[in-house]
């Protein structure tokens, strides 16, 4: 009698994968650096860091929840940058919508870049997780 595949077995990720994913989220590129994937770290981390820094240079600001539900989606995007979001949050820096910055022609590009930096880092974080879990080479 042949064995029937039930499809109920679940692949579990090792603790290392969660650690690398968390490291990659906290510091963009760190999840790959810790696994010796220097090229990927440079490309993925570099893209995230560049977006984040350019976002501030262009006059952007970070989002936080202030009672308005519309602030939550961009905040989730910003949060993807890990410590790049958390540190300014604790320091109270980068969240104010300064009138002078808002007058810049690149103001909206700025906060868009800051959100995209976080979203791209979510992808980089998942990549670091998958590599550590053995799902990718």
């Amino acid at each position: 009698m042949s064995k029937v595949e039930t499809g109920t077995e679940h692949e579990t990720a090792p603790a290392k994968a969660w650690l690398m994913g968390t490291a990659g989220w906290l510091v963009p590129g760190l999840g790959h650096v810790l696994q010796g994937k220097w090229g990927r770290a440079l490309l993925l981390g570099g893209a995230v860091w560049a977006c984040f820094i350019l976002g501030f240079i262009m006059g952007g600001h970070l989002f936080q929840y202030d009672g308005s539900l519309l602030r939550i989606p961009p905040m989730i995007g910003n949060l993807g940058a890990g410590l790049l979001y958390i540190v300014p949050w604790f320091m109270g820096f980068g969240f104010a919508e300064d009138v002078r910055l808002a007058a810049l022609p690149t103001f909206e590009f700025g906060w868009t870049f800051l959100i995209v930096a976080g979203l791209l880092n979510y992808l980089a974080m998942l990549d670091a997780f998958d590599i550590a879990a053995g799902r990718k080479s």
């Binding site: 490309l43 893209a47 995230v48 022609p105 590009f109 868009t112 870049f113 791209l120 998942l126």
Partner: protein, 56 residues
């Protein structure tokens, strides 16, 4: 920064991440990254012209 330059930088960053994450071999990554980069630029320019002619 000029708007087109900003769009190009945005497309470059997104294309790099998409290319590295989505494909396995270096050649596939490069090709996919170039494709994503070109798509961002072309679609951005097309949308820009469409919006230019809209009266609202």
């Amino acid at each position: 920064m000029r708007h087109f330059l900003v769009m190009t930088v945005f497309a470059l960053a997104a294309a790099v991440v998409f290319g590295v994450v989505a494909k396995d071999s270096p050649r596939d990554r490069l090709l996919y990254g170039l494709k994503v980069f070109a798509e961002f630029l072309v679609i951005g320019l097309v949308l820009g012209w469409i919006l230019y002619f809209l009266p609202f």
